[in-house]
């Protein structure tokens, strides 16, 4: 039997459908869910969120709000993102290639919450909040750092949808960076990637958030590094402190994309560069 299919016209309609059919596939751009689709079982039903107006677009007030249904192509060309959220623009530009960026959405990256989701370390570094919604309980907010709880495991309830992510802009004396290391510049899943949000007084780090992907079962903040660099001036000493703190903080794995040793070396180089 072929799948049922619903394309809701509003978020309210989508939430009702999600509550009624918690087992249906929630489909946005399909760039995670449709991979090898012919080898996957046909879902009981499809709840199609693609282009749902209330989930779409970027707005900048005192915070940046990115609708879950916004594509990476839209994110990377948005003026406010380019101006003040450089790491997000950089991550968006390196997700897949043109065809993937035209379909892949923020909500999909967050929904999958794979350890190699490129936007996720950025969300952690900016301490982003997710906005979730359900028909029964309305809207709620949760920091991304609490949302992903294990390998592709999240706090999303069976009747919930992801509505948006909210990011506070950095103050003027803040360094934000993002770096991805993969096999080629485009269309490659990260071997290691990371983002940092570094608040400064002059050259001295007053507070830092450092997040890495592909070094654990989920994207993670590296508290040991954050503590080690606080109070130090950017430069060789801070870089060395970051490197040393990282060494004992992560246990990367060997897999088809890379080895634990390589990942550890690259991750060390990444955090060292963030603070040099």
């Amino acid at each position: 039997m072929s799948s049922a299919y619903i394309r809701p016209r509003s978020l309210a309609e989508a939430l009702d459908a999600k509550a009624q059919h918690p087992d249906w596939m929630v489909l946005a751009g399909g760039t995670d869910l449709m991979v090898n689709a012919t080898h996957r079982p046909e879902p009981a039903g499809i709840l199609d969120l693609w282009r749902l107006p209330e989930l779409r677009g970027v707005t900048m007030t005192d915070v940046l709000t990115i609708g879950a249904g916004t594509t990476w192509l839209e994110v990377e060309h948005h003026a406010a993102v380019l101006e003040r959220f450089g790491p997000l623009a950089a991550a968006a530009r390196e997700i897949g290639a043109l065809q993937i960026q035209a379909r892949g959405t923020l909500g999909g990256n967050v929904g999958t919450s794979s350890p190699v989701g490129d936007s996720l370390p950025v969300l952690l570094a900016f301490d982003a909040e997710l906005e979730l919604a359900s028909a029964a309980r309305g809207r709620r907010r949760i920091p991304y750092r609490e949302f992903c709880t294990g390998y592709r495991k999240t706090q999303l309830a069976a009747d919930e949808l992801i509505v948006a992510a909210h990011l506070r802009p950095p103050a003027t004396r803040t360094r934000t960076t993002w770096r991805k290391v993969g096999t080629r510049r485009a269309q490659s899943i990260s071997k290691v990637m990371g983002a940092a949000f570094i608040e400064l007084d002059g050259d001295v780090v007053t507070r830092a958030r450092v997040a890495l992907g592909a070094v654990a079962d989920r994207p993670i903040r590296i508290a040991a590094v954050e503590q080690a660099v606080t109070g130090l001036a950017l430069g060789a000493k801070a870089a060395e402190a970051a490197r040393a703190a990282l060494r004992s903080a992560i246990k990367p794995i060997d897999d088809v994309r890379s080895t634990a040793t390589y990942r550890r070396d690259v991750a060390e180089n990444l955090v060292a560069r963030f603070f040099s």
């Binding site: 090898n36 689709a37 379909r103 485009a186």
Partner: protein
């Protein structure tokens, strides 16, 4: 389900599972076999089509999502017998060998040329832009140089 879409300017209605891939809808139901399957994983770009004005991998789009949408495949690039500039240049430059990647390359290249996305102060920059924009289209035969030649030429003619 009943799916109505505009394909290469023509309105068509097909009955298909919403889970079917746009790629299969195009090839099997609409009998437009120009679009090729390479990997089925979104990696190679052979299946590229335009969907509502963006280039997408048709192996990653569910047919249900195409109801009411507009699709252009490689068959829709030419106007009658007049090839699109990128098609003409791919022929002239020898930018195709086995041809599996070619429809996807042509669709993606036509999109970026028509949108005026190939800029650059000089030839080197233009070529780098083409390489970046076409990074999702894998070719195992040509080594890319002749494809890049073709797309840069087409962009120059179109400007």
């Amino acid at each position: 389900m009943k799916i109505t879409l505009t394909i290469n300017g023509e309105r068509r209605e097909v009955d298909a599972s919403p889970w079917k891939r746009l790629l299969d809808l195009v090839r099997e139901d609409l009998r437009l076999t120009g679009t090729k399957e390479g990997c089925g994983e979104g990696e190679c770009g052979a299946c590229s089509v335009m969907l509502d004005g963006e280039v997408v991998n048709s192996c990653l789009v569910a047919a249900g999502q195409c109801d009411g949408r507009t699709v252009t495949t490689v068959e829709g690039l030419a106007h009658g017998d007049v090839l699109h500039a990128v098609q003409r240049e791919l022929v002239a430059c020898g930018g195709a060998q086995c041809g599996i990647c070619t429809p996807g390359i042509a669709v993606c290249a036509a999109h970026v040329v028509d949108r005026g996305l190939i800029r650059g102060k000089n030839d080197h920059e233009a070529r780098e832009t083409v390489r970046a924009l076409l990074a999702g289209n894998i070719c195992r035969c040509t080594g890319y140089q002749l494809i890049v030649d073709a797309v840069v030429n087409a962009a120059r003619e179109t400007r």
